[in-house]
Structures are given as C-alpha cells and as structure tokens.
Symmetry: D2
Subunit: 339 residues, 4 copies
C-alpha cells in the first residue's frame, strides 16, 4: 500500500489526509507541519501517522513513497522539487508554482525521474465537471462559443496570492480539461479595495484560437457565495451551479425561436427543453487520490498532471501581466504582450 506523507496540515491538508484514509488505496504514513497545534489536530484524526515539524525530514524519509503538498504557495516549488529529487511521487496543491519557469522545472524533474507529478485541481474530478466534459467531448453541445464563470464569495483575504491565483486558478484548470482549442490571449482587470491586501476582485477574458471566449468573474468581497458557470454551444447550453444541492448541471436545448415581425426585439424565456443528468456523488478528492495511486502503480499520466498544471500557471502569469497593463491582452504562447 502506497505510504503518503502530508506536507502542511492547515486549511487543506486535513482534507487530503482524510481523502487518503477514505480511499483505502493508500495510507497516511506521516504528517508534517511547523505548527504544534496543527500536529495535535492531526494526531486526533490520524493517530497512527508519524508526526514531525520538519517537512524536509518527512520528504526525505524512506518510510514514505509519495508526498502531498498543502503548504503556502511560495513553498510549493521548493518542496515539490525536493520531494521529486528524493524520488517521491508528488501531488502539489494549486497553483503548482509561482512562476512558469518553476512549474516547468517541476515537470522536467518528474519526467526525467519517471515519477508521477499531479496538481490538486480538485474540481476536475467532480461529477459535475466529468459530466460536462463528456457533453463537450461527445460534441453534444456542438461548437463551444463561450465559458462564463462567476466565482465570488466573502472570504478572508489571503496574504500570499491575489484573487486570480486563488480563485481563477480553478476555472483555468477546468477550462484546460474541457477545451480542445488552445488559449491565445488573456485580458484581465483587477482591483484591491482594502489596504495592504492583494487584489480581491478581477475580471478575466480568455480568447481561444477557435474563436471561443471565456470570461471569469472572481471576487473575495462579494455579499454571497456564487459558483455559477454558463457554457454556450452551437447546439446546446449548460448551466453549472455548484451551490445547488442537486441538479448542479442543467443542459438546455437552444430551442425553436419563433418567427417575429418587423418590430420584434427580445423573447424573454426560451421554449426548448431542459435536462439535468444524474451526477456521480463520489467525493472529488477521493477520486483524485485514487487517480494518483493508480498512476503511481501503472505509470499512466494523471488527468491533472504536471503539464496541465504548467499550462494553468502560464495562464495565471499572463493574466497577472495583463492586469499590470490595464487589461491590454497578453498572448499566451510566449507570454509576450499582444500587438
């Protein structure tokens, strides 16, 4: 049984550890966190796991086969690199790294050593995204026109990353999974309304090579939590509302729009049918853990592998660059500013 070390037992680490325990496919062998309080919490839930305040010690330990990294963003790269260099398979929390160069270096290291490198883009493993993925790749939606996401809530402001790196990263990972076309350029505007805090609100537009357009609205300072994505296709359209307890994914026929006379303007409500498919209710993090273990065993490439994680970091970097240019579009291929 694969022996897992959990690096970081703060906000997300406990979820990773629990998913490992519940999957039954691997074992939480060791947990590392600099905080004694965190380790005390860990011991209550995982009494059989070894504990340490020295993350590097755990990474190098021969007792573990793989590391899951859930530490602050600026430590993702050094810890993941050290783990790969120690011969461990790695799952790293999103975003994979703070720069394209570092993300790329992790991909290289994993490939050179034949190790499994996975990024924890959890949403990709949800029943909702898997259902939408099937709809798109089976061409049931037709050509994809747009992806339009609102991902806002009232949250604590993070200190080390802004709202783009914290929230838009989810959509970039989902889009990387759903779109067959490549993103060509990104335009982004961001604003920070509280002093001494990173930007808390941003609007991003991604232009795809196929002509499709994606738009993301991310905000830490919204009155309520909204997680809603509209996807428009030439044949059908989708609403994915992650805040619904059921019917998270609704598929709409374009519908027969009636002929209208000369003055016709808008038809308020459509006439087509709507369909909400049954979704898998398996917890995404458990599916993700199983995928990690399966790829370690088989050598397969994970659904959210390091290369995909690198593409996501490329998009994040381009978006950041665009915000500095007041929204001027930034090309993705080489991160140069679009002419």
């Amino acid at each position: 049984m694969i022996r897992i070390g959990i690096a970081g037992y703060g906000y997300w680490g406990p979820n990773l550890a629990r998913a490992v325990a519940e999957s039954g496919a691997a074992r939480v062998e060791m947990i590392a966190d600099m905080s004694d309080a965190a380790l005390k919490r860990a011991s209550l839930r995982h009494p059989a796991a070894a504990l340490t305040t020295d993350i590097m010690e755990m990474i190098r330990s021969p007792q573990i086969d793989a590391v899951m990294i859930a530490t602050p963003v600026n430590t993702h790269y050094p810890l993941a690199l050290a783990a790969l260099q120690a011969g461990k398979h790695v799952v790293v929390e999103k975003p994979m790294a703070e720069t394209v160069a570092n993300a790329s270096r992790l991909v290289d290291e994993a490939q050179r050593r034949g190790l499994t490198l996975m990024v924890d883009h959890t949403f990709v493993y949800t029943g909702a995204i898997q259902a939408i993925s099937k709809l798109i790749h089976s061409r049931e939606l037709g050509d994809i026109y747009y992806y339009d996401s609102t991902r806002v809530n009232l949250g604590l402001f993070q200190r080390d990353v802004n709202v783009i790196w914290d929230l838009a990263v989810h959509d970039f990972a989902i889009m990387d999974h759903l779109f067959e076309s490549k993103p060509a350029a990104i335009s982004a505007s961001a604003a920070g309304f509280l002093s001494n805090s990173p930007e808390n609100m941003a609007h991003l537009t991604v232009h795809y090579e196929c002509g499709a357009m994606a738009h993301l609205n991310v905000n830490w300072l919204a009155p309520v939590k909204i997680r809603q994505t509209l996807i428009g296709g030439s044949k059908k359209m989708v609403i994915y509302d992650d805040m619904q307890a059921s019917e998270k994914v609704k598929i709409y026929d374009r519908g027969a729009v009636k002929g209208q006379d000369d003055y016709a303007h808008l038809v308020s409500y459509r006439l087509g049918d709507m369909h909400a498919p049954a979704l898998s209710t398996k917890e995404a993090l458990v599916s993700e853990t199983e995928e990690f273990v399966r790829c370690i065993d088989t050598g397969d490439t994970p659904i959210t592998d390091g290369v995909g994680g690198l593409r996501v970091v490329e998009m994040l970097a381009a978006a950041s660059r665009s915000t500095e240019l007041r929204g001027h579009p930034v090309d993705l291929v080489s991160l140069k500013v679009a002419s």
Copy 2:
C-alpha cells in the same frame, strides 16, 4: 390633460401607450406606425386614439403636446429632432441616439426651446433602483467599490444594434443614476457567434474616477435569463436580483470575519445579517410617465433627462470603440483612446 402621440406600436410602444392610459395623467391621443397590423392591434386597445401610418404627420399635428418614440434605433434621432422642432415634448426610447453628436444635438435643441426631453431608461424608475439609490446617496453602503451586473438571456438577435447597445445601455443608465463619481475609461470585449448578426455577447469594465470598478456581462445567447447585480461598498453590500418575485434587493452587512491562524484561507459563508427592504410595487413605466407629465407641467428636469441620456450614449460609444481595439481601455472625456 397632456395629449400624447405614440410613435411606433411594435414591441415597446404598446407598453408606453398602456402606461399613459393607466397613469391617468395624460391621454393617448394618436398612435403612428407604418404597419397596418400594428395599427389594428392599437385600435383594439386604444379605440379612442387617432391612427396614422405617417409618423411625421403625427409629430407635426397640433392635436398632440408630446411624443413618445418607440421606433427602431436609427430613427430615434431624426424623429426626436423633428418632434422638438415641432415644439413637442419628447420621450425617446433607449438608446437616445446612435452617436454622441446626435444625442448632443437633441439636448441642445430641447434646451434652446425649453422643452422637456426625457429618455426612457425605465429601470431607473423601479422600486428596486430607487431603494438602492437611497442606500447609496445616504452613504449607508459606505464608499462604493464595485458594481457587477449579469444581464443575459436567450433572445432574438436584433438587427440594428448589438448586445451592448441593447442590454448594457440599461446598466449604464442605472450607473449614471447611482454613481456620484464620473466614469473615466471603458474596456470592452465582444463576440458574435452567429453569422450576419451583430455581436451577441460582451464583457465591459468601467473604471471610475473614484477608483470604483463596474463590470457588465451581457449576452443574448444564454441558456436562461439572469438579471443580477452585486454592489460592493465599504460598509455594506447589495444583491439586486430582478428575476425574484419578492426580495429583489438584499443588503448584507460586511460581517465580523473571525480571526484565523497562519494557514487560514477562505471562510465560505459570512456571518453578518441580511436585510431585504420593502420595495414600491408601482409599475416603473407608470412612474416614468407621471415624471414626464410633471416635468412638462413644472419645467423641472426629469430624473432621466436628455443630458443623462447623452452620458449613456457617450459610454456606449466608448465601449464600442474599445471592442474594436480588442479591449484596450478608451477614455470617456473626449472619446480618445487611453494612453
């Protein structure tokens, strides 16, 4: 009693005529439309009104005191100008004109002749916007950080205007009413997915002089109708959801966000209270008609006067220019491209 002539009895004209009849403050004296079918419908609902297929004849008729213009957009300017020149008070459908120059010309003409010129920005007269206006102008929300609107539906594509001129115009009028600060620059991206049709989807960002940011998401090709606006202030935040049958406006305290340890990331749900004020249920179009009649009688400036309508056209023109520049921000003062 003010005698009104209705120019255009297609999609919107019947609503104007009905509002006049219901207000009791004015009378539908004449209805003009080039279509016989439209006039037949008009005669069923307004049997006492004179009918004509010659709009100019009605505009010049001494039998009417004021004209309400609900014709295609490209005729707004010539018809409104002719009506003013004939000494009639005018309500013109939104957008007021197709160019800033023409809108400006209408303002001048009305001022010179001392006539009431009003633009039919109906939303401004709703109980919801009036309640939000009070919240903002009483400083209950504190400083305004952002206005974020989603205005999408599945509609018939218009032939003469694109989605910005059709839908974003509503938000521009609302913003003109709510914001005390001036818009400095607009950045907009638009896309048209159907051939031979104007753009059907756009995202617009408006930068205000005070630092506030507005964002509009407008789309004719969405699976469902959404009319939702988030307004963030330094003290409170608002959700305005026009699709709700009740509680269209909800006001949220920022709430006490708990202290968190080093790993703290997001708090999913806020802890503050929410309040939904009772709103006036009076029909906006009737309030608007009463405002028109009141201003004709008193010489007062209407809430949505020609000058405000001109500012809205300036924003529309700037947004259009930005879409041609792939989203490059366009300054508003002189409609020159932002450096």
Copy 3:
C-alpha cells in the same frame, strides 16, 4: 363575433375583459358594475363597450350573447341562473356557487337550454397543467400515488369566503382535470387567527378510490407566496412550481436507488435524471376565452364545464363539513359523514 357582457369589473373582471379583447374571438360589448369608479376604469380600457350599473339589465340585454360573471361569490348563483334563463351562455368565476344544490341547478338549467356553461378554473388552461395532464394521461408517470400542494401567501382576508373556498378551489379544479379516479372522502382542519375573519389556514386530505392521496396546504397568512405541487407516480415524479419564471414543471425519474447494507437509512439526494419540458407560454385566460367561444360555436363541452364545476363545489362542501367535525373524514358521494 360573439358579444360578451362582463358582470363585475372589480379585481378579476378587468382580466376577463382584457382576455376577450386579446383573444380576438369575441368582443367586449357591455360592462356592468355597481361602482361608478369601476365603470370609469372600464371606460379607459374598453371605450367601445357599453356601461351600466344595473347587472340584471345587461344580463337581459339582446345586445349580448354571453355573460362572464366576476362578482362576489354569493351572487354567482342568482346571476348565472338569470343569465341562463335569459338564454345567454355563461362563464362564472370560481367557485361556481356556494352550495351543491345551487351548482347542480345551474348545470341542469344549462343542459335543458342547450347553453354553454363554463367555470373559470383558469389554472387548468395553463401550459403547466396541460403538460402535466399529458404526462398523467399518457401514463408516463405510472400510477399516481399522491398530489401534494402548498398554496400560501400573505393576502387580504376575504369577507365572503374562507381560505378553502378561495385557494383550495384551484387545486380541486386541477385535481378534477388530472385524476381519473374519483375522490372518496375528504378530511380537513382549518383555523382562523384573526377575529371577525373567516378561516385563513387549512390542511386538507383527499382520499381517492384508487388509493391515491391528495393533500392541500392553503394559507392567507404566510410570510411569502408559495405555489408548489409535488405529484408522485410509480414511474416518475413531478414538481410544479408556479413561482418560477421558467422550468415551472420538472419531471424526475425515480432513479436507481443503490443497494445498502444493514444499517442503511436515507439517501439524501437521488441519482436519476431530471427533465423540464418546454411549456406553452400562451396566457391561460386567453386560451380559456377561446375555448368558451369554440364551445358556443360547436356545442362542444368545455374542458372546465359546469359538471366539473359542480364536482369542485361538492369537494368544497365536503371539506367545509369536515372542518366542522374537527377533521373527521367526510364521504363525497352523498356528503354524508364517513363511518
């Protein structure tokens, strides 16, 4: 063209008159109301109609072919009877009469004279109920297990009828249209919390001969308006939520419920698909008016004819009797108390 007389131009009469005008299938020839203010309102909307404060005069007038009665409940019977005796076709507002005997007398009078007698059970003509009717009569839902309706709101208390006669009447008419089986007995509890007012809250249970059970929750003193009906069948289930702007009718597969171990209790969310069919958006009252005119022309029996209206009154009477018996079930056939 059928010439219609509108008896009563208070709350509902204007809607009937408008529906007649919009249908184009008949003409509002005359409007009668005892209130001068009501007639003034009528003249603004229907300037071509003759007006009178004497309803009986209108009923007897040779200028009209049919009467639509929208007066207080206790006048339904005498006015409808007088109209039938004057040889007019009749639409009478719900409930058709205050007693089974009087409702029965109207049915007899209409049959004897070969006149069309229709009850204005408007909901039956909505796109939603017509779609549900098709689902049930095509056996797509399988055997009907239950009909469970919540019909509550904060309203003005009526003086002449209680909440059962005001709100439950809608469900009884819908059930009469949907169920093939006959109601066997009704049990009802009611309460009135305000002094000098009829009962404002009631719960009713209807036992059908086939074993199905219907339950109605009606209340004038609720904090919000709810119009939601669950219909359970052996194959599929339906939610009909009339407060939704779209997707008013949702059809759920029973779904494959997974096998469970010995301790299994509840599965929170179902796994089957959901489907929301496109509904006709035609206004119910216009469809109803067309049905009335069609039946006058052809001699056909209307969908909501007097016999159905009589069955609804029988259910109302049984429910009232049960409330007097503290909820003891009352048999429907002969209105005797169930043993």
Copy 4:
C-alpha cells in the same frame, strides 16, 4: 476526560464518534458493532479506540463513562436501559424508544440513578433552531399561530420504522423546544405506496392548547429534498429553509396591508421588510456533545433530556394511533381517542 462508548457504527454512529473527537471534550474510548466491516471502517477513523462486536460487553465495561446508542430503533430501549443499569450516562438516538412505557421507564431509571439521559434530537442544537427559539421566547414573533413543516426527500425505505417515526420525530423535537403551550391532540393520515414497506408518506396536524396549529408533511418518496418550515406569529413570521447554504432563517414583518376597495381580494406580494440574522455555524452535533459532557460534569438537565424525549414519543404514539383511526384526532394527555 469523559470516555465514550459508541454503540452501533452504521449510518449515524460514525457522525457521533467524529463529533466526540472534534469536540475535544470527551474521548472515543470504545466502538461496538456486530458487523466486522463496520468495525474495520471504525478502526481507520478511530485507530485508538477499542473495538468489539459485543455491544453488551462495551456497555458493562469499566473503561467507559458514557454510551452513545446509534443502533436500530427496536434496540434503543434494552441497550439504553442496560447502560443506565450499568451506571453509564446515555445519549440515545431518536426516537428514544418504541413505546411511551419504555421511554418512561428510561426516564425513571436515569432519575433514580442520577445519571444524564439525553436524546439525540440534533436539529435542536443547530444555529437555525437556536435563533428561532430566541425569537419566540423573546416574544419577537408575538403569539404563535402556526408551525408548518415540509420534510420530504427520496430516501431508502426503512424497515423498522415508518416515515412518522423517522422524519416527523425531528419536528416533534423542534416543536417541543419552541412551543411553550402543550399539544392537546394529533390527527394524522399516512399512506404506503410500496408493498412490504412501512408507510412512506404522512400528514400530521397537532392542535395546541393555546389554539396554535402545527402541520407536518413527511414523505420518503418525493422527487427532491425539501426542508422548509413556516412559522406564523401575530407580529412576525419566519421561514426556515434548511436546504439553503446561507440565510436559512428569514424573518418577515407582517407588513402594512393597504386598504382596499369593495372588490379587493388578494395582494400577491407583501410590503414589509425581511431580515435574515447571522446564524452560528458551529456543527450541531459538536454542540450537542459538549452539552452532554457539560451536563455529566455539572448534573444539569440537558436541553434535549429524557423527559423531552418521552414527550416526543408520546406525540409519535398519538400520531400512529390517529393513522389507524383514519385521521380521527387523538388526545395527548392520556393517549385516549378524542371524543
């Protein structure tokens, strides 16, 4: 630290064990379940706990101070009795026992021995019910007119209890906590649509001595999960919707209902304000565990003590008796049929 034994590790036992671990106020010392598979799951989550397939052995063990019983309903009484007789404090899953006599016997046994006896009526400990409780007991709602609950979902059918004992039990416990008045009589109708299964649908009406009326709609065979309660008071009204992610409790002013003319019927939407208070987000089961430990330490009476649990069983028994009498109301005091 209080040492807890968990009796039954099937559906609910794991939640109790987790709450104990998270509260930090007590320790999961031992877990008993007849199923080896269940114990294997228990060992993954609670590796430090002793395990046994012999529940009676655990109950008698000197290693534990208190027992939490989450076994099938028909074993609640014998196991709770054995635990009390062994000198252990007890939390027993709802319903406390299958008969009033047995529930009463448990209360006596606990009182005689000075042990803490608590029933796991979890909902009472939620932030929502605690907020509503404050509203009622501070008289902010005024006199309580009604409590109207819809508690339906598509679930697996239970074998040992029907839907009344499974779902209505929650409302009875909540009502026992909220109402100051005593329930006088209960009328209930139930139906079972699947063969070899207990009743899956029921409607219950509870008449209180003060004149208030409660109604419960419980159903295992509904298309969706609904958890909605309306509470009407003379001053304010409440909606408690447990399926909402936020704003679970909304408080409505009665609102000023406008004067109306003679024909006035209904006002669709109310005019008063709405307020949604911030609710504690602490997990109810953790609060409940803390209450249990606190009462063991201090000798205080728990919020949901055995006497309250007994009252709930009395209501369940009266409801069951009424279903056998076709809905005839059953008095509560002595469980005799109401005359």
